[in-house]
Amino acid sequence: MNFSLSSSPIDAAALQRGLADERAGACATFEGWVRNRNEGQPVRSLEYEAYAPLAQSEGERILAEARAKFSLLGAACVHRVGHLQLGEMAVWVGVTAEHRGAAFDACRYIIDEAKARLPIWKKEHYATGATAWINCATRGEHAAPTAIPPA
């Protein structure tokens, strides 16, 4: 059971090997990737910023909750921080269990809670050069650019 933040690319294969367990019949994973659009706007890259000590403790708490709720053998989650390009992996979740139902349910629980609770923020860089901190728009716009950098 472990959570971590990473400032370098996530090695999903190594993380999954770390979950190897001869008692496990099922391994469910989820990867969040940087995609090229958000709510219709072309995205060039993303920045993730974390409040590290609290993200760490909250991430560990989410994994412990998953272990308590579901019949698991292993669970891990890594979240990137820093500047990510299109297609890069922003978050990885992996869960092993004897049976697939628990593996799927726990994997989804972990990513849902991670997105809702981890003190991590995402700044989108748009093709226009504008940027926006996601979910932080005010004055009624949703995910609209909040700053255009000087030319």
Partner: protein, 80 residues
């Protein structure tokens, strides 16, 4: 009057123009301290969209602040 340290992330860090500062304040709770800082620095996020952490743990916005506390205001998160 007490002194606490305040750490800023993301949109608050950019609007404040720094990551951390010592604040001498008469306020007694994170909620009140946020309103004071919001007025001073023109933060765009209203207080009801910001959570608070003290000494690296989430706290109620009306918790009591103590001398030397490390306070973080948490904008709406967007991990994943």
């Amino acid at each position: 009057m007490m002194t606490v340290s305040v750490q800023y992330f993301a949109i608050l860090r950019e609007q404040r123009g720094l990551s951390q500062e010592q604040i001498a304040t008469e306020t007694a709770t994170p909620a009140a301290l946020y309103e004071e800082l919001r007025a001073r620095h023109r933060f765009t996020l209203p207080g009801d969209r910001v959570r608070a952490a003290v000494n690296d743990a989430f706290v109620d916005p009306n918790a009591t602040l103590r001398e030397g506390d490390r306070v973080v205001f948490i904008p709406p998160v967007a991990g994943g």
